[in-house]
């Protein structure tokens, strides 16, 4: 069609906003649920079509960049910031990933949320539309300030959707925890953006930072990334975020919202590349998170928590790749991960829908009853494990190579071990859930219908196919990339296959070996929430003490000054009101006295 790129972009951005506003404002629509559902899905389909249009035109002409902005925040010395849309090789692929996964998840939710009361469904879809808009703002932002607005919008929708079952105390607490942790991290991002503006006078990312400020600014921004993309030690909110409905976990807490952190580093890479310190820190934190989260994932008993820690771990890979300077590696893994992790979550959602439980031990033997779900789940698991031919293999390979080339040996070793563990824990989930003896919960399990099947099939196609598009993606991004077999990639794949084999040996056979009993104490430790405890102490001992100190200062010093000046005014008023006697003669006397004084002044001056 002959519409311009800007029109398509605005269509992709504003249709979900319109849907969100209509659902929010027109109460009967929301209360009845179904109209809101279809409105939201129609909006995201429009966004999806627009994203495809943009992507195909970008494929045709990889180097095009469209920047369309309006003046915003006028100030005495000209415009402080501009607002608008930036379409290029980074934002368009991300927009496509966003709208694809969002569309799949919203359609999937038709089946998954069918048992919810109608008003709850209306609310659910309203949040979803708002999320697509917020994420669109983040993705298409031409500067850090607008990106930050999108960043907070998705943070808000994340809070709302985690707390979707707000009657459940654990869900409400999880929502607050997620909000609290990410806001703490956002302080870093805000300070980083303020310092960026203070030192360079603009909010863009294509600026040279003063050398002395490069490390502080980018490290502060990276703190925001750690919160959003769940990097150790700020990953604690993500496992709790699994309290939200499973499709929400697939969209927000696996594929797109948590990816915002990585996306920002990719987007603002010209800034991050200016500080080797930050890059090194990113590589180490990413590597550590990848390993740590993979270890914790091995001992989880809740299928969604395995996937949540897996998400942390995979984001560790991306951050590590970005730290090694490989933007392509990080971004490519982000794209493929979005597909297969969303698919894993939707598969898990399908299973949970059928079994009515998150616990792995309540599943088992589902392969026979849910053929489609188990098939797509296994595809996604193979992609996650990095088995050659599936999407994860290509991108993980690129990440590992990049880290190896930089000579970051310890992070590299962590990633390699994590690759093995990844295959092991996802293999464990597959064998426990889909093979073996079925528990009594799983006896009546069945597929959830077309609305749940179709999105999974689409994402399965992505999980297999996305890896083959690495070179197209690189071309859109303006880079050269050709896949080739390397010892590193082969090694990682071998480790992955070994991990799957080990998982089969332990969990796939009829008898369990006792060799893995040592995992039990680790599981206890992981569930005890040691990192949470650390934050709790920091909160009780540090923040609360500081807050009460500030509270005292506010109550007695700040308020004291105010109260004193108020008291002074009242006292002065009481004294001064004696002058207003209401007696005419007093006033006349004052007038005459004034006249005499003026006359005297005139005479003796």
């Amino acid at each position: 069609m002959g519409l311009s790129a800007l029109t398509w972009a605005l269509l992709a951005l504003l249709t979900p906003l319109g849907a969100a506003l209509v659902i929010a404002v027109v109460v009967p629509l929301r209360r009845r649920g179904t109209p809101a559902t279809w409105l939201s899905i129609a909006a995201v389909v429009v966004s999806f079509i627009a994203a495809i249009q943009l992507f195909s035109s970008q494929l045709a002409d990889p180097h095009q960049l469209m920047l369309s902005t309006l003046d915003w925040l006028p100030s005495a010395t000209g415009t402080m910031a501009r607002i608008g849309i930036r379409l290029d090789g980074i934002s368009i692929p991300m927009l496509l990933v966003l709208t694809t996964v969002a569309m799949c998840v919203q359609v999937f939710s038709l089946g998954y949320m069918a048992d919810e009361p109608a008003p709850a469904r209306g609310r659910y879809y309203g949040y979803h539309s708002l999320f697509v808009f917020g994420m669109g703002v983040l993705v298409l932002a031409p500067n850090m300030l607008e990106l930050f607005i999108g960043w907070e919008l998705v943070g808000l929708t994340s809070y709302l959707l985690i707390g979707f079952y707000y009657q459940k105390q654990s869900a409400a607490r999880a929502a607050i925890k997620a909000f609290w942790v990410t806001k703490f991290a956002d302080i870093g991002l805000v300070l980083g953006i303020i310092l960026l503006f203070a030192t360079t006078g603009q909010f863009g990312w294509n600026v040279a930072l003063p050398p002395a400020w490069a490390a502080p600014i980018t490290l502060l921004m990276f703190l925001g990334v750690m919160g959003k993309s769940a990097q150790f030690p700020l990953h604690i909110w993500l496992p709790n975020a699994m309290e939200g409905p499973t499709p929400v976990s697939a969209l927000l807490h696996a594929a797109t919202m948590v990816a915002a952190g990585v996306y920002m580093v990719v987007r603002a890479n010209p800034l991050f590349a200016q500080s080797p310190t930050t890059l090194t820190a990113m590589a180490w934190i990413g590597g550590f998170t990848a390993l740590f989260a993979a270890i914790v994932a091995v001992v989880q008993t809740d299928i969604k928590r395995v996937l949540a820690y897996s998400t942390c771990s995979q984001f560790g890979y991306m951050i590590c790749a970005l730290g090694a300077g490989s933007v392509m590696g990080g971004f490519f893994h982000l794209t493929t991960h979005a597909f297969f992790k969303a698919l894993l979550f939707l598969g898990a959602g399908s299973v949970i829908h059928a079994v009515h439980s998150n616990e792995l031990e309540h599943m088992g033997g589902l392969g026979g009853r849910m053929k489609l779900t188990s098939a797509v789940f296994i595809i996604a698991a193979l992609a996650l494990a990095g088995v050659p031919g599936f999407a994860g293999f290509f991108s993980k390979d690129l990440v590992l190579e990049a880290v190896q080339e930089k000579g970051l040996w310890l992070p590299f070793a962590a990633l390699m071990i994590a690759a093995f563990l990844t295959a092991f824990y996802i293999g464990r989930v597959v064998f426990l859930a889909f093979f073996g003896k079925s528990s009594k919960h799983a006896e009546h399990a069945h597929e959830g219908g077309m609305a749940m099947a179709l999105p999974m099939l689409l994402l399965a196609a992505g999980s297999v196919g996305a890896g083959w598009f690495g070179s197209s993606l690189a071309r859109v991004y303006g880079l050269e990339y050709e896949f080739h077999f390397t010892p590193t990639g082969m090694g990682a794949s071998a480790l992955g296959l070994l991990g799957i084999g080990l998982a089969w040996w332990q969990y796939g056979r009829a008898t369990r070996s006792e060799a893995f009993d040592f995992l039990a104490p680790i599981g206890e430790l992981a569930r005890s929430g040691a990192v949470d405890r650390f934050f709790e102490i920091g909160y009780r001992r540090g923040l609360l003490v500081l807050s009460s100190g500030i509270g005292w200062f506010d109550r007695y010093v700040v308020d004291g000054v105010i109260n004193f000046s108020g008291w002074l005014t009242i006292m002065a008023g009481r004294r001064l009101k004696r002058f207003q006697t209401g007696n005419v003669q007093d006033y006349v006397f004052a007038v005459i006295a004034g006249a005499v004084v003026l006359a005297a002044w005139g005479l003796f001056r």
């Binding site: 006697t581 209401g582 007696n583 005419v584 003669q585 006349v588 006397f589 005459i592």
Partner: protein
């Protein structure tokens, strides 16, 4: 011809008596009379200066001034009558509240 300053002294004395009356009288009628004294002191000044300058301009002003003073006294007395009607007395230091 007599010098001007005896007239001015007379006027100043009259004005001062008027001020004293305005400040010290409790009775509204007394205050009005005192105001009249002050106005007439001004009139004497006008006539005295008119004579010193040898023109009739000051005398014309004095006639105007008398006329306006009469109007002012009418308004003032009307106020005094209203005051009497609402309070049954004409003591200004008692009438020190707007709401009455």
């Amino acid at each position: 011809m007599m010098a001007t300053h005896p007239y001015l002294l007379l006027a100043a004395a009259l004005f001062s008596v008027g001020i004293y009356g305005v400040l010290s009288r409790r009775n509204a009628v007394g205050i009005l009379i005192s105001v009249e004294l002050m106005a007439n002191a001004v009139n004497i000044n006008l006539v005295a200066f008119s004579r010193a300058q040898g023109t009739a301009l000051g005398q014309v002003f004095m006639l105007f001034s008398i006329g306006i003073t009469v109007a002012e006294v009418v308004v003032g007395l009307a106020l005094v009558i209203l005051l009497y009607r609402s309070r049954q007395d004409v003591l200004v230091d008692e009438a020190n509240e707007l709401s009455g």
